[in-house]
Amino acid sequence: MIYLDNAATTVRKPPQVIDAVVRAMGSFGNSARGTHEGALTASRTIYDARGKIAALFGCPRADHVAFTANSTEALNIAISGLVRAGDRVLSTDLEHNSVLRPLYRLRDERGVALDFVPADRQGSIDYADFERLLHPDTRAVVCTHASNLTGNAVDLARVGALAHAHGALFIVDASQSAGVLPIDMEQMHIDALCFTGHKSLMGPQGTGGLCLRGELDILPWKVGGTGVQTYSERQPEQLPVRLEAGTLNGHGIAGLSAALDFINEVGIETIHAHETALMRRFYEGVRALPNVQVYGDFARERAAVVVLNIGDCDSGEVADALAEDYGIATRSGAHCAPRLHRALGTEGQGAVRFSFGWYNTEAETDAAIRAVEELAR
C-alpha cells in the first residue's frame, strides 16, 4: 500500500515508538496510583513526556500540559472549559468538526454567539476579517493551524496578536501541524494549544493533549479519580490533574514520548522539508492535468496536503479506484470540514485528499501522480 492519508493518521511509526509501547505494556502500573515501581515507572514516563511536549510547543510550564485521548477531547476541554454562557467566540471556515461541534453546542446550550472568518474558493482567509469580526465581548478566538482539507496554514502569530489586542483568548487546533510546523505558544500568543499524538507526531492513537499558557480559569470537562485528594468532593484545582480524571493512556504516552525523541533527533525542519518536497512534487505533477482541479493556496506555508477532484466524479469513487486499482490510500468525502467544503463549492462532490508524511518517498509520490493522470483521462 502507498499510504497517502497521513492527515488522518500516520500508519508507519518510528520503530522505537512501537518498542516503547510494548515495553510499557509489560511493565507499567497505573500512573499517580501508588509508589511501587510499576506505578512510578508510568508516572515518570508521563512526567518526561509532559516536559518534551512543553519544550516542543514553547509551553512555559510542563505541568500545564494535560494529556487527553486526542485533539477532539482537548478541544472540547478548552472550548467548553473557557467559554461561558453569553460569551462570543470567533472561529473560521477552515475548522474541523472537532472545533465546530463544540462551538455549535455552546451556541445551542449556553447562548454563545459565534462569528466565522470566511474562506474563499481556494480555502484562503483574509486576516482583516479577524479584525472586523472581533467584538468587545469576544471571549475567544478558536482557530486551526492548518486546514485538514486544503493544507493551507494560518499565520498564528498574527491571529494571536489580534486576539490579544481585543482581549480575547486564543485557542489553537494543532492537529495537522504538531511535529511539522514550528509552534511557539509565547511568540504566537496561544493560550490553549490542542494537539493529537497519532498524526504528524507519529505516536500511538489515543494520545493527545492540551497545553495551557498562564493561569486560566478552565473548568474540567470530566471529573473523577485522580490518585490525589480523594476525600475532596471536587476535582483538584491544580493542573494537570484538574483536567486528567481517570487513568491516563500510559502505554500510549510512552509511545508518544519515544516519538517526540525521534522528532527531536530528526528535527521538525527536516521532517517538514521532506513532506513539503513530496507535497510540491505531487502538486506540480497533477495541477496542470486536464480534468483535474486542485484546491488550496500553494504560495504560502502549508501542511503537506493536496486535495483535488477529477472532473465531476464522486470523490469516493476516485478514492476507491486509487485504493483498489493502484493500492494508494487517500481520503475522500467531506473530511469533517463542512464549512470549508461549502466554501470550496465541493459539498456535493467531496474531494480526494492526498497527505504526505515522513515515511513517504518520491517513488510513491510519482506513482500517485501516474494514477491520477490515468484516472483523469
Binding site: G34, L40, S43, R44, D63, G227, S232, L239
Partner: protein, 78 residues
C-alpha cells in the same frame, strides 16, 4: 512492621510535582524516595517525598529555586 523513625515528609498537590521532586533530587544528588502520603497527614491518596529531617533546608531551597509547588513539609514518626 518496620521500625519507626522520624522522617521529613514533603507533600504535593499533584503527582506531576511529586515526580518533579524526585527528578530534581536525583539530578542534585539529594537522597530520598517517593512514598504513599502518610495517613497521619491526610487520608487523601497521593505520593510524598521522604527524606532525612536534616535535608529540609536543602529541599526547601531546591523547591523554591525550581518553582516546584510544595503543599507542606512535615516531620513525622513513620
Amino acid at each position: 512492621m518496620r521500625e519507626k523513625k522520624v522522617w521529613l515528609v514533603v507533600t504535593f498537590h499533584t503527582t506531576a510535582a511529586a515526580i518533579g521532586m524526585e527528578k530534581l533530587c536525583a539530578a542534585r544528588g539529594v537522597a530520598g524516595r517517593l512514598i504513599p502520603v502518610p495517613r497521619a497527614l491526610t487520608a487523601d491518596c497521593g505520593m510524598a517525598w521522604r527524606a532525612e529531617p536534616a535535608a529540609r533546608a536543602a529541599l526547601e531551597a531546591l523547591a523554591a529555586e525550581e518553582g516546584l509547588e510544595v503543599e507542606g513539609f512535615y516531620e513525622l514518626l513513620i
